[in-house]
Symmetry: C2
Amino acid sequence: MKDRYLDFVNSPFGTSIARSLGLPRPETLRRHRADRAEFGGIAAIGAGPSPARFDDLMAVLSAIGMTSVAHESASGWLPVAARHGAMSGRFEPRARDSLANDRVEALIFDATGITQSSQLHALYAFFHDALRSLAMNGRIVVLGHPGASCASVANVAAATAQHALEGMVRSLGKEARNGITSNLLRVADDASFESALRFFLSPRSAYVSGQVVTIDGPSADPQSWTKPLAGKRALVTGAARGIGAAIAATLAEHGAIVTGLDVDTARDALDQTMLSIEDASPSGGAHAALVADIAAPEAPAAIAAALVASGGIDIVVHNAGITRDKTIARMTDEMWDSVIDINLLAQERIDEVLLGQNVLRDDGRIVAISSIGGIAGNRGQTNYATSKAGVIGRVRALAPLLRERGVTINAVAPGFIETHMTARMPFGVREAGRRLNSMGQGGLPVDVAETVAWLASPGSAGITGNVVRVCGQSLIGA
Amino acid sequence: MKDRYLDFVNSPFGTSIARSLGLPRPETLRRHRADRAEFGGIAAIGAGPSPARFDDLMAVLSAIGMTSVAHESASGWLPVAARHGAMSGRFEPRARDSLANDRVEALIFDATGITQSSQLHALYAFFHDALRSLAMNGRIVVLGHPGASCASVANVAAATAQHALEGMVRSLGKEARNGITSNLLRVADDASFESALRFFLSPRSAYVSGQVVTIDGPSADPQSWTKPLAGKRALVTGAARGIGAAIAATLAEHGAIVTGLDVDTARDALDQTMLSIEDASPSGGAHAALVADIAAPEAPAAIAAALVASGGIDIVVHNAGITRDKTIARMTDEMWDSVIDINLLAQERIDEVLLGQNVLRDDGRIVAISSIGGIAGNRGQTNYATSKAGVIGRVRALAPLLRERGVTINAVAPGFIETHMTARMPFGVREAGRRLNSMGQGGLPVDVAETVAWLASPGSAGITGNVVRVCGQSLIGA
């Protein structure tokens, strides 16, 4: 589905019309392209007192080829840069009407040392000075610390201040516009944030904003950051079309060998999808199509057998899902049961076999597709929202149990994504879905797929039990 | 501020105009009035397998004078009713175009025994049959079980199904309209839900919908359910006007002796507010106005001294708050610091003295006013949203530490509430705030106040660390 309004207001003619009429003019988001460098430009660094992660941050920036300038709040940055042999300088706030091309690509704030809410002033000072300097499609990342957990909290004031960061990061996302994303990484002392920071600085996270991600376990670096999934085998359910096809293609692009699963009636589309992935893969040869109906009782065993035959599996993406929308009074038993069964129970049945029989290898990854509807509920979707809320509950409950095997499980909750499904919505509903978010537009299937690929990567070993929305910071929530 | 649209479409003339033009016609919410019975009518009961709380549920319905009918999903209800000597019958689904006055006032579903997502079908069956039978301003309450907690989860499938209830309850709230609220109470085995069930069945919760409340500690019944705060002393900050004045008045109506606190510049309004509360109080005599600037370093000690002099305190309501809205680039240091200080740091300073010196008695209650902005962030309110997110972090971090003293701490997060503050908003922003929620209208200060009074009551001893939104199930969230 084309977003004609977005195309129009970003055409030379449309731009001038929109300007003269004062119409909103959402930026066409910059997404990753193989022919363009993923990272580059300058990051401005800010910090609260006692920032704990300057060394790690410097190491990532060096690795991805970004240079840096230090805001006055980050006075310790320059010595760290010098120690790493990296060039750095002082951040100079941009004059309001500056014509100079002096924008930065990212604003990164190390808030890990903030233990009192009065210290939040440093965030104000940094973003007050620096937000205007952030380029279109720029990135805001705040590094925090996991605050209140259920374990007893040693320091209430610190937990308070750390939670307060959420309000700041989400407000900045709503203010910044221009395709700028704003996210908070809560990183435990022993955890590495490189995988997450790379994702959130990359164009790959174009439609992910307003999110809070907790990283609370250690992780090893992947052998390659450009093909982090090299040597990994992935199963993607519902892979024939739409978001599932994009996930399969993106995992393959990241180096994985993908088994795409779909039902018999989608066999042709599935074959085509897997063929085009095959054609795009430099190695080639190993991707496979697997036809199975995950609603069938025998499906989990059949899937397991197929995966075992091809050498086991490292990544499972529960993407297959259906909608059967009706208000509850008009909904039939079959509409309720089939949605709960395919969207939720099938995940349980498949994981039971894959985990129980160790078909999913240690250090494996499970990514389950939920939905904003599973968070906020939705009119006419009691069945769908219930199933997608269940997916979130399952991810949270399973995550601690899978830790000892090194397996992570996370949920990805898409907002309004341009697919054949949304193309069939009534005009008003579709337009509302597209505009009621900080990006002023719908996302693309690849936005969901890149988020899945990030969570599935070896570097994301410390990320489990999270729910990441891919929604352009939709207004809608709970 | 008058909501003229709401008044218009509920006038005889406006109703016909709205009907013929197909305009939305939000119901004028029924709120509690002293001259009307708080409870009455029929509750339809549904249940999943092995419902654990039928006896407790029956006891509450009997106590508040509601009768019941049992849906076929709740086959065990009739024997329980018989055991309690209560009349009950079978629920008959209402014919679609029935002219008979056969509506019920509440739909209550006991989902505590649901341990597998396939069992969620019972919710579908009940609400499919019964939603059409629910009267205007009716109530939906689902009783669940606390699902995934941070402690290891014994039963993943049960945690999944219990979390799935959130999607159902929130979707029902969005479908039902007509002033109907829909809420989920997650009740631990040893916890009593009477206080919460009374609140959510009452017109006092008119603007509270789509909420999930966890009740995981025991509680004693109050001496009186009509004056549950009798004999309690309460402090309300920012009590001169608006929401704070409503909280002071409502706590007094529930029997508390209230100290209203505000700054010197609001002294006249504060005196008037406390005088009118005095006049309305049958006992009279003991309410007090306390002038203090909570931004001043000496304020906590002065407040503590005043409270000690009047015999200590049982309830602290942190309501005082300010806004200083600007985008971050235009915000001044003073605007940031004053908002963080008054909305967040002052709560910390006051509680430190009241808790540290045991001015707040055992079994005390702290209720802190947050905001939807603290959950979702807001453009032009980085300072406010940060402070209000901090309030939520503080509530979550403090709650477990205060348990052993029997002190609870909860946050109340208002959405769009009709006050002098919202009356000054630009028309478009105000209308969006009013309409983008399941009630199609803004709330009133009394809606926030009744929620505070409920959380402050002795019967709510088992409710701590919760964030309850008073937002008419606003679309906005995170």
